[in-house]
């Protein structure tokens, strides 16, 4: 069974979650953990209509791959598949999907958690919220408590 980083990409099209799960799955795997980040309708009390994601694409994909490689070292045997979408997304759209498959559940869950937490700190991607009232604003997570980012 091939393990490690099977796929880590920045994409422009909608993310096909089922396809990513299928890619990570394997008959020797007993646990498949899936993290899906989605666009929500409210932030800091303001009604959001959509979210625009921008990436420094060459670096973002490279950094995402580096993080996934770290997760592979921490959780040997994991199969990792992930995509982050950029462009204009609407409410409920998946902005990021991380699939971690492993023989056992703990490393599957922990690997997905490791990747999303590191992604939020180190991958050069930005988002601009579009509000129902027509205003738009780039989000600066460093102005928000860690748990709410």
């Amino acid at each position: 069974m091939e393990t490690g980083v099977l796929h880590a990409a920045i994409v422009h099209a909608p993310i096909d979650v089922s396809a990513l799960v299928a890619r990570a799955s394997h008959e020797r795997v007993g646990a498949v953990s899936v993290f899906i980040g989605t666009v929500r309708d409210l932030n800091d009390g303001r009604e959001v209509s959509g979210m625009e994601y921008e990436a420094y694409e060459g670096m973002a994909e490279r950094e995402l791959h580096a993080i996934a490689t770290e997760a592979d070292v921490r959780f040997p045997g994991v199969r990792l598949v992930m995509e982050h979408r950029v462009g204009l997304l609407t409410l409920g759209d998946a902005s990021v999907v991380i699939v971690a498959a492993h023989m056992h559940r703990a490393p599957a869950l922990d690997a997905a958690r490791y990747v999303i937490e590191a992604l939020k700190v180190r991958v050069p991607i930005w988002k601009r919220e579009h509000y129902v009232d027509g205003d738009r604003q780039w989000i600066d997570p460093t102005a928000t408590p860690v748990g709410k980012r």
Binding site: Y56, V96, R122, V123, P124, W126, K127, W138, D140
Partner: protein, 80 residues
């Protein structure tokens, strides 16, 4: 002499461009580039110590750049 510097998101909005020519002479330190950027139009919206990447790798402010390096000033990241 000047060096091209890549800008993104809120910083690109601040300078009104995705690439700016910064008047510095290479080789120089990243912090020299940031200082030169901060006195350009729009530079007041740049923090004193922004995140910087050279050749698509995170670097410290003391890092040296040479002609041909890909220099990027990175706003606070917000992926996910």
């Amino acid at each position: 002499m000047s060096l091209p510097v890549l800008l993104f998101a809120s910083y690109a909005d601040a300078f009104g461009a995705r690439t700016v020519q910064v008047p510095v002479t290479a080789p120089c330190a990243v912090l020299d580039i940031v200082a030169a950027l901060r006195v350009m139009p729009g530079g007041d919206r740049l923090p004193a110590e922004p995140l910087v990447a050279v050749n698509r790798t995170w670097v410290e402010a003391s890092a040296l750049v040479v002609v041909g390096d890909e220099i990027a000033i990175i706003p606070p990241v917000a992926g996910g």
